[in-house]
Symmetry: none
Subunit: 223 residues, 4 copies
DNA sequence: TATGAATGAGAGTTCATTCAT
DNA sequence: TATGAATGAACTCTCATTCAT
């Protein structure tokens, strides 16, 4: 996209407008796809339906996205960004302590799950077991998240002079926590639609995982 | 299948043989489907491929199974049976104590995951986000499993005079534990193929979840 | 297609009938495709049109042929067989002499072109410049034909104790003759529709190519 | 393109420059299309690819050319011009004699084929079996070429007092010669990539066609 | 003149499912 | 019971062409 520039290096007004419109279309299509995927499922949402829902032609969808895979991959990326920043902010806010860790957990249930149930559906349901390409992306996304959790854990431990028991412990904890997030969200969001009790449920889930963490530290510091 | 009976109420030898053969075919097809679904994925395995792999005709597959959905549903049922009895036995063996609970966890990683990686793939990957019907079955299967875990937990607690902190606690714990099982298996079986270290990993995961359980009991009994 | 056999090794009547029907369908589809390709052109004939013309479903076409490429490739093979045997017979009939060579030339124009104008269209027009796969097949077909011509030429020469002037001569002659056949057929069949004069035209073309042959022999033997 | 003129009837300097630029763009696009068609094939080259290769927008391509057909038609015209003048010059240079005819043949292989393999690909491969419109143009181009050959032949004969045997002879010879050119070029340029031996091959092909010509003259004049 | 986003008809291909034999 | 040919709807993706700016 080699947008023409004015002498002063800025984009011309019309170029700016076009760029804005393009970005807008892109987001519109993405949003429509998210909605459809979450509601009808990835395979049952055809490109034509997505085009109709975004009020553009099929060709336009293909102008903005390489193919259907690309659509869900972009959605995953976006979702990954939102999730990680949501949890990251909550963690940082409390100074990288065990309290921050706990708050990040609450943020997952009370903020992320509640505000972005469709993003949850994409990552925990619709992107599972699709093409190799999508699966690869999914792995990378989860790797980033478990990496985050792990790093956070290490920071907390370092600050408090704690160490993990086994060679895999930190990683296994991180993976387990992601598992808890995933399944609890899945259960109460998609299967029981218990959104109104999610706060209470989240509290328990977080208490559970904090207990788990302590159990794998050499010197348990209760919270 | 209204098998003809002899006067004494028993099946004739040939009828018996036919029944055996029928059962055998059924299992052959199911096994072929399991293998294919696990290896190539549900959507990329066509009924024709399944028929070829089982060395029967397409029509025969439809004789034994209502449709493709039914195939994965039967697989899920079978898998559910194996999983539940594997864990159940381990639990019972140790007299419904916390130790039994722990051993059941080990059984998941060291027995089930190692011996039935394809069943893991079916339930944790291939059955996700398919038709409403499959999803419904999946929910029921998970409900049974979390129910098991929950009941086991309650038994242990009752024996030891312990109670859970919150109204949802027992259920949330059960769901969380399933989440840990699921994601840890997924991570190390499908993504990292760390089958050789699964024992160590399982140990950590189980330690983690036991810690979590204790954290939600009113009087923690260490293990 | 492992057709069940009777004890005596023969196929059962019903199996035979099915095989016949299958062969018949195959030929029906192929014939419809040939007609359409010749009339409308390869790219303008859709698989649906071919299916309609053969009075079967689209799926049936794909049951008998791997894809659209395969359809034209089978057509080329068939055409190659007809062409080579038509010319081969004419040549052999006259005892592998220069006279036989001449008669083979006449056979091309008076027999092949007249009776199979559609096959001409396939090989000289519709199969040109398509996919790599088709092009590869086309090359092989032409190689076989030039090979035939060349071998025929060598036989005649050997019988008469003649040799070719240059290292490439025999091959270049063969290629040139194919070129003459091709373009003359194209010109008078597709562009001028001079089918009624094709006999006269063929006579001239053959006289032309025989003169050419003689010019590249070290001792010219007139015909 | 109604270029504004100055009072004295000449174009203004800036109009001249614009006209130059326009001509340049036109040629750039045409060259890019030729390259792409020859390399990837007509159908596999999209208008977008052509635009990218010429470093202009898709719209610009449509400004200079009516449609995709037009692109290949212009290419054919250009190619026809180059071919005819190349062969024509060689013929004229030797005073419209049989020697000139031979030299024209050499010019085809040693000059045209070697220097413009892409033009060969366009006319002998990529323009075959496309739309009716393109096919019509192709016929006209070949008609011009065979007309040239025929006229040249007639001139030579007239000069030497020779006559053709049959009513179609002159035309059939011309068509046959085009066939030889076409197929030999195709075989050794596209299929065997024998460009380094094309001189030798061309010599044989020309010797062949001269022999053919003589065979259809009432009094053969050897060369 | 030039741009490039947008269109939308149309293509090839797949595959779950059926049913006459 | 078993076969496997047949169906046809549905899907993804391409691309020549247009047109507002």
């Amino acid at each position: 996209m080699p947008a023409k520039k004015l002498k002063d290096g800025k984009l011309s007004p019309s170029a700016l407008r076009r760029q804005r419109e393009r970005e807008h279309r892109y987001q519109t299509i993405l949003a429509a796809a998210e909605k459809l995927f979450a509601k009808e499922g990835y395979h049952k949402s055809s490109m034509e339906q997505i085009a109709n829902a975004s009020e553009v032609s099929v060709g336009a969808v293909y102008f903005y996205f390489k193919n259907k895979d690309d659509l869900i991959i972009q959605l995953m990326d976006e979702m990954g960004y939102v999730l990680r920043s949501t949890l990251g902010k909550a963690f940082i806010k409390h100074g990288a302590t065990m309290e921050g860790f706990k708050q990040a957990g609450y943020a997952f249930f009370e903020d992320f799950c509640v505000n972005y149930p469709e993003k949850c559906a994409i990552i925990f349901r619709e992107s599972v077991g699709k093409s190799t390409h999508v699966e690869q992306h999914r792995k990378e996304l989860f790797d980033k998240c478990t990496g985050d959790v792990r790093k956070a854990l290490m920071m907390v431990c370092e600050n408090q002079g704690l160490t993990f028991k086994g060679k895999y412990s930190a990683e296994v904890i991180a993976v387990s926590i992601m598992g808890i997030y995933e399944r609890v969200a899945y259960q109460y969001l998609f299967w029981q639609d218990n959104t109104h009790d999610i706060k209470l449920i989240g509290k328990d889930a977080v208490a559970f995982l904090l207990g788990g963490v302590n159990n794998l530290l050499n010197e348990a510091a209760c919270t």
